[in-house]
């Protein structure tokens, strides 16, 4: 290793605690169907980074949200690339989680001792979809508004408590500025944090249990 890395290693002891992790053996008959989870994680990382970049220009307010998305898309240099990356990697994230889940199902990798890991993975899919739903409102255009109107009204159809649940989600009786702030907070704070914790759990369990052997 290089001098800088050696110096860092002396400071932080990077190598010795991770030695077992890096030098562990991997089943030799893994094929490329085993990389879908890794690809999904790649898209998660891209989502986090492009999201951090978008948050520099985005303004989560009733009057400025639409304008700021306009500015990101049309005026900020490469803004449309960052926004496109965020939008597309969200779709790819979910596609590859689904493909990964199908692969895990086919190779029976959800069986003991990996039940909990399957559940954590499924929860990641749900948080990913929730992120997609909350993120859909943020551009604050026609599509966003009406999709959220329909989506939150669906909660309102639950007998008895539905209406109050819907008000709690919307932060008011109708989709309004409070809804935008709520969804923004969910989209950029709560859900990424939850997804991150779930993924950490997911990878930690893989590290402990090893990669499931083929079929």
């Amino acid at each position: 290793m290089g001098k800088v890395f050696d110096w860092l290693d002396r400071q932080f002891h990077l190598i010795s605690p991770h030695k077992r992790f890096f030098q562990r053996s991997v089943p030799p008959d893994l094929n490329y169907t085993y990389c879908f989870g890794g690809i999904a994680f790649t898209y998660f990382l891209i989502l986090v980074f492009s999201g951090l970049l978008l948050s520099i220009y985005y303004v989560p307010s009733e009057n400025d949200a639409y304008k700021s998305v306009m500015i990101i898309t049309n005026e900020v240099p490469l803004g449309w690339v960052i926004r496109g990356m965020h939008k597309w990697s969200a779709s790819f994230f979910i596609i590859f989680i689904i493909i990964h889940a199908i692969r895990v199902f086919v190779s029976k990798a959800y069986r003991p001792p990996r039940e909990l890991n399957w559940i954590v993975g499924s929860l990641t899919l749900i948080t990913a979809m929730a992120s997609g739903f909350t993120g859909y409102l943020l551009p604050w255009d026609q599509k966003a508004y009406w999709a959220t109107e329909v989506g939150t009204s669906m909660v309102g159809t639950i007998p008895f408590i539905g209406k109050y649940l819907m008000y709690a989600i919307r932060g008011g009786a109708e989709v309004n500025a409070a809804t935008l702030i709520r969804f923004y907070s969910m989209h950029v704070l709560y859900l990424p944090l939850i997804t991150g914790i779930l993924l950490w759990f997911h990878f930690h369990m893989i590290k402990r249990q090893g990669i499931s052997a083929k079929l």
Binding site: E149, Y167, R170, G172
Partner: protein, 149 residues
């Protein structure tokens, strides 16, 4: 106090604290501004603009200190008299369109259809279109729109 007693007390205290904090978090999250729906009467149009027979769409702008609402209503006039319909589909809140050939209101979202009287004829909506109160004074038409707070 042995260990078992301590654990019992500890678990009780834990659940007490947990339920207390859940209640306070819910009361924090739940919006405060939701009050009963109130009816505000606003000027819509002159009486001579009303349709002789049939259905016409009227846009309105409502303004108060808190918000500005730019929306529309459907006015129906026939031998039964005047009726004002809210354009919001009772299913999931999309806006309905009046189709003059089929003589029905159509919600594009999930295919809800209402007849001239606002009654559901097809699709998932659970209730007929909401009828808004109205008033005609000195040749001016006022409608009552319902708002929260």
């Amino acid at each position: 106090m042995d260990r078992r007693d301590f654990l019992k007390r500890f678990i009780k205290a834990f659940f007490f604290a947990l339920s207390l904090s859940i209640i306070s978090i819910i009361s924090y999250i739940y919006p405060t501004k939701i009050k009963q729906k109130k009816t505000f009467y606003i000027y819509l149009t002159e009486e001579e603009n009303l349709p002789k027979i049939g259905i016409r769409r009227f846009e309105y702008i409502f303004k108060n200190e808190e918000k500005t609402i730019n929306s529309f209503v459907f006015l129906k006039k026939d031998d039964k008299g005047l009726a004002v319909f809210s354009p919001f589909c009772t299913h999931l809140g999309c806006l309905v369109k009046w189709n003059n050939i089929q003589k029905e209101f159509i919600c594009a979202c999930h295919g809800g259809r209402f007849d001239v009287e606002g009654k559901v004829i097809a699709g998932p909506p659970p209730m007929p279109l909401e009828r808004l109160p109205f008033d005609i004074k000195d040749g001016k038409v006022y409608i009552g729109i319902k708002l929260y707070g």
